[in-house]
């Protein structure tokens, strides 16, 4: 993306387009990636509730894959995940592994 020069900006850094944060893919900041294992998922939706970045997608009222464009890898979902019989449904994996 070509960056704008100083003459082309809205004075005062006022954003005139609503919802423009969606264009800013903060997922690139992630160093740990949450990985979802549906076999251990009981669909409690704790991860969906706790995710501070709305990075857990849903489908037909159920948990679906992560939205890796916006997941910063904070790990809250993995911490909160109760899993099934002691087996977590979300584990954090280092990005470069």
């Amino acid at each position: 993306m070509k960056l704008k020069g100083w003459k082309d900006l809205t004075p005062g850094a006022v954003l005139t387009e609503p919802g423009s944060a969606e264009e800013f893919h903060t997922g690139s900041w992630r160093s740990f990636r949450p990985v979802w294992n549906p076999e251990n998922c009981i669909q409690c939706m704790f991860c969906w509730t706790y995710c501070p970045d709305m990075a857990i997608k849903t489908k037909d009222g159920k948990r679906d894959e992560f939205d890796y464009d916006f997941c910063k890898g904070c790990g809250i979902c993995a911490l909160e995940c109760p899993g099934k019989k002691g087996q977590k449904a979300i584990v954090m994996v280092e990005e470069d592994k």
Partner: protein
């Protein structure tokens, strides 16, 4: 038709605000600016204005509320002094960075410690780099006139930055002086309707203020902010020309007093300039070519114009009613920068610090300085470039 009244500086400024009738005012009154709000809130109570006055718990909150109201789309003002301005400091940058044309009347007062309520310019000079326009005023008349003009300047579509009017605490704020008021409808017409830019209250066009801007764009926004400031001088002069037609009173970027052929020139702000002008006259009567430059627009500073006005002088003394401890006074640094634009012979430039914390500045102080400058102009040695005057050893 002008009305002439005997009023305090604070009362003159409060009446300018009454005549303009801004949408919102958030303030936390502080000595010596308290009377501006005391009088203005009386206008509100008496129904003479329909300004929404917001009671806040501190000056930081006052400026925060002004920022919110201005971003919402209102014409907004506040008023403070000294510690109050110091507490606003964080928010001053936010107001200017968001390009909100908030007006602040600053009644200059020293900064603690030691605690002091009297006049010096440390508060205004401390806000030098906040991105606010500053107009300085010698007396109540100038403070009144500057207040009216400043709304036009700050709100100009080429500029849109916040601005403050400075006048001397107690010396001007509390002294009763002759002030020529314009008629209410003349002022309203001169200032005009406020035109908001990207107002938050326009729900048909939603906007966000205050986003996080990272290294990829921050510098571009700051560069654009400087550009807005480069357009201020022209607007100040245009507005002054229009104001002169209305009032008969002439304003420029600064006042050049008997400066054309001056060999020695004082640079001095605000009320002390009045005292100094009398002494300049005495020296002229004695045949000494003395002159004076009284800055009006201090931010943005008109370097080229000031350099052109001072280049003929042999000796220039910059009088500072504020200090930069371990440095020269703040006005000296500006004049020194302006001098760098002069090619060839530059005037000898000395600095005196005077009047801190309300210490009297008397005609004999001006005379002492002008005598010293006369000696230097004759080829005498500069004893010291920075000196405190009116201080006990």
């Amino acid at each position: 038709m002008a009305k002439v009244l005997a009023v305090s500086g604070n009362e003159a400024v409060a009446n300018a605000f009454r005549q303009i009738n801004p949408d919102v005012c958030a303030a936390y009154p502080i000595t010596p600016s308290t009377e501006v709000m005391q009088r203005f809130t009386a206008f509100v109570s008496d129904g003479e204005v329909d300004t929404e006055v917001i009671l806040v718990e501190s000056e930081h909150s006052a400026m925060s509320a002004c920022i919110g109201a201005s971003a919402a789309g209102g014409r907004v003002f506040t008023n403070t002094s000294s510690q109050g301005l110091a507490l606003m400091w964080e928010m001053l940058f936010i107001a200017s960075g968001m390009r909100l044309p908030i007006i602040l009347s600053l009644v200059n007062r020293a900064l603690a410690a030691p605690l002091n309520i009297h006049c010096d310019h440390s508060d205004g000079m401390g806000a030098r780099d906040t991105g606010w326009i500053q107009l300085w005023s010698e007396n109540a008349q100038e403070a009144y006139d500057n207040t009216i003009q400043l709304f036009r300047i700050a709100e100009h579509m080429d500029i849109r930055v916040p601005a403050m009017i400075c006048m001397d605490g107690f010396i001007i704020s509390h002294s009763i002086a002759r002030v020529e008021f314009l008629e209410d409808d003349e002022v309203k017409k001169f200032v005009g309707e406020f035109t908001p830019v990207n107002p938050l209250l326009d729900v048909t066009k939603p906007v966000s203020y205050g986003p996080l801007i990272l290294p990829d764009y921050y510098m571009e926004y700051k560069r654009a902010q400087h550009e807005a400031m480069t357009r201020v001088s022209k607007v100040v002069l245009d507005v002054a020309a229009e104001f002169e037609k209305l009032s008969g009173r002439r304003y420029g970027l600064f006042e050049a007093y008997r400066l054309d052929d001056a060999e020695i020139a004082l640079v001095i702000l605000n009320s002390a300039a009045g005292t100094s002008k009398d002494v300049v006259d005495e020296f002229r009567d004695k045949g000494v070519k003395a002159g004076l430059l009284k800055p009006r627009l201090f931010r943005p500073f008109p370097y080229e114009e000031v350099a052109a006005a001072l280049k003929g002088a042999k000796v220039v003394c910059v009088m500072d009613r504020a200090d930069s401890f371990g440095g020269f006074g703040p006005m000296y640094m500006e004049i020194a920068s302006a001098m760098m634009l002069i090619s060839g012979n530059r005037p000898v430039l000395i600095n005196k610090i005077y009047g801190l914390g309300g210490r009297d500045y008397l005609p004999e102080h001006a005379a002492m300085v002008l005598d010293e400058m006369t000696e230097i102009a004759k080829g005498g040695r500069v004893k010291t470039y920075k000196e405190y005057i009116g201080v006990r050893e």
